[in-house]
Amino acid sequence: MRVLAAMSGGVDSAVAAARAAEAGHEVTGIHLALSRNPKSYRTGARGCCTIEDANDARRAADLIGIPFYVWDLSDRFHADVVEDFLDEYAAGRTPNPCLRCNEKIKFAAVLARGLALGFDAVATGHYAQLRTGADGLFELHRAADPGKDQSYVLGVLTQDQLAHALFPLGDTTKTEVRAEAARRGIQVAAKPDSHDICFISDGDTGGWLAEKLGEAAPNSGGAIVDESGAALGTHDGSWRFTIGQRKGLRIGTPAPDGKPRYVLDIEPVSGTVTVGPREALAVTGLTCVKPLWCGTPPAGPLECTVQLRAHGAEHRAVLEPTADGFAVTLRDPASGIAPGQACVVYDGTRVVGSGTMAATSRAARPAEEDSWTT
């Protein structure tokens, strides 16, 4: 096959490209330039999109012996990922831009352009496994390395997209990938993993949102209230908050029981932020919209597991299709769940599909299990 290897400049995508080439594919490396002004994004080795990262990717491609180009996707990325991220926050939701980037950029804009240019597939360094099911459909499975599994951020891909995807690292652990990179002489073998949002250069999401959204809506402050509606304070922008957040609430008066308070709800129109005790975060039900199914959509109730954030815990659940998506009843309550996040549905290790959480319903009593991860 003629394969486009998306190379970020990091170790994973470099090894993925090398493996694709070694497997006999005709591989061309591409680095996606997602900012018109690369210096305005990350510096150092913390993420993607710097000049240094483009150079790292180029060096790896030279070493593998494949052609390498930089593709300017900055307009698409800005329109489909950055602006969407801002809109979602402004609406009181908490989006995951990495899913959006996979859905709209890597396996849409890049794939479409690649197919038009005569390529057959896009290979990335994601940790996830592709298989062919008994019905002949492509199946996306969790990676062999549970600590690195990235099937969650790929849970938005459809059959068409999976048919043109390659994930050469799915059966390997990160430790093995680093060792392989070193063995292959890839210079970035020891480069740290990227974690934060690539287009927020200093990792300060709150500050970045305040700057961007504060310009657009300077008077978007509101009240901070408790569960009974009693006013506890005010804030100058609801985008500063995310559900489950504890730090930075700046409430003068402590809770009567002295326990920390968490953001329970954000009402974007009024700007009201509701806070309360940790127990009140426990969620037992979800409704999801914008469903995307990897294969055949479920026809009726489905015993499954769901993952509600990147690297989050798995929750046993029952899925029920609805008119515009699906409802999920959690057998293990989850906490810190915010509308806008993706709910990825699994059957064992297989990704069934995903939806965007539109609303949550809370447990009547405190949750025993806590899946809150930061």
Partner: protein, 398 residues
């Protein structure tokens, strides 16, 4: 087989130049040492200087060797600006054009932001040629305030030859020195430093069949020039650094041969270029030819063919041609490898989309009919594919 159509980026070294260079690589001797080895090295350097002076119509003492075109441009712009301003503090203006190479534009921007220079980039017409009326008006507005003028001899992207004689006439009427970046011109066009009247001229080795990493600023003795690199003062006290004897020997041989064969090569290469353009345009009728359509060397670099393929992304075209072994350029500056729309095409009045849909094919001394055949054979399927991909490049509706 590689079809190399990117001679304006760099052209293959002439075998004679490589031989002259390698002959020196084995020799020892710092050209500034006083012993026999040093004298031998110095002799090679001075003979090279004389060869270059003879080829380009200057005096040997007017050749200042540098590490290449970028350094020569920096030396000319900053060195002239600082000297002229030191003579008269009113001289803080610099006139140049909107289509200069980044080796000129970036030093000018730096002088503007770091050293209070007031830089005016004069407009060009739709073929990329300096608007002389605008230039004259800018000069006559306040000639006493102008430190220098810098106008390239010929444009690296679209090949347009600039009206250097007129620029010199207008500037010299007010005693203003003129620098020209002639990196693309030497070997392609007739270039005579003294006859041109310019005060300073940039040349570089690897664009005329010589080695990389060596070039020169030809600069008249009477023009004041402040040093950029301080140290041993090896080159007329305005350029320090141990003299690169092998590179200079290679540069001199290449320069001599490039000038000697310029007229014949220009005829041969221009004919090949005209054939490339007409056959590509016949194959892709919607393509358009940028720059000056007049083939003569008074108008356009003989090796330059710059074409726009509507609906295509230049970098898609480049990649697809590269996959077929055909090497060319989008002719634009790169920022971390990200193609930016060419400032030259934008200055000529193209819109962003046209500017991104363009390719530069540049021919040189090794180009043959077979190169043109290969391009003509590849261009139709390549354009079809790139156009299909180009339609997908717009941001989706939200």
């Amino acid at each position: 087989m590689t079809v190399y159509l990117d001679h304006a980026a760099t052209t293959p070294i002439l075998p004679e130049a490589a031989a002259a260079m390698t002959a020196q690589l084995g020799a020892v001797g710092n050209a500034n040492s006083l012993h026999a080895s040093g004298r031998a090295a110095r002799r090679v350097v001075e003979e090279s200087r004389e060869t270059i002076a003879r080829a380009l119509g200057c005096r040997p003492g007017e050749v200042v060797f540098t590490s290449g075109g970028t350094e020569a441009d920096n030396l000319a712009l900053k060195g002239l600006y600082w000297s002229r301003r030191a003579e008269d503090p009113r001289r803080t203006r610099i006139l140049s054009t909107a289509v200069e190479h980044h080796a000129v534009l970036d030093p000018l921007e730096w002088l503007g932001s770091e050293d209070d220079a007031r830089v005016t980039l004069l407009p060009v017409d739709h073929v990329g040629r300096l608007d002389l009326d605008a230039f004259r008006a800018a000069v006559e507005e306040a000639p006493d305030e102008i430190a220098l003028v810098s106008v390239m001899w010929a444009n690296n992207e679209v090949g347009t030859v600039q009206p250097i004689a007129e620029v010199v006439e207008i500037a010299h009427a007010h005693g203003i020195p003129v620098h020209t970046d002639a990196v693309q011109a030497v070997g392609q066009l007739p270039v005579d430093f003294a006859a041109s009247g310019v005060d300073a001229m940039t040349i570089t080795g690897h664009k005329l069949g010589g080695p990389y990493g060596v070039g020169a600023l030809l600069v008249r003795r009477e023009v004041p020039l402040t040093a950029l690199l301080h140290g041993g003062g090896q080159e007329r006290d305005v350029r320090s650094g141990t003299i690169d004897v092998p590179a200079i020997a290679g540069l001199a041989v290449a320069c001599e041969l490039a000038v000697k064969h310029q007229a014949d090569q220009a005829v041969r290469i221009a004919a090949l270029r005209d054939e490339l353009v007409s056959r590509v345009r016949a194959a892709v009728p919607e393509s358009s030819y940028n720059g000056d359509p007049v083939s003569e060397v008074t108008h356009r670099l003989p090796g330059n063919a710059h074409l726009t393929f509507p609906g295509c992304e230049g970098d898609s075209l480049l990649m697809l041609l590269d996959a077929r072994g055909i090497e060319c350029s989008t002719g634009s500056a790169c920022n971390a490898g990200v193609p930016q729309p060419s400032h030259v095409l934008l200055a000529m009045g193209c819109d962003d989309e046209q500017a991104r849909a363009s390719l530069r094919f540049s021919l040189g001394h090794t180009s043959t009919e077979a190169d043109v055949d290969a391009l003509v054979e590849a261009i139709v399927p390549v354009v079809e594919r790139a156009r299909a991909a180009g339609l997908l490049s717009k941001p989706s509706a939200r």
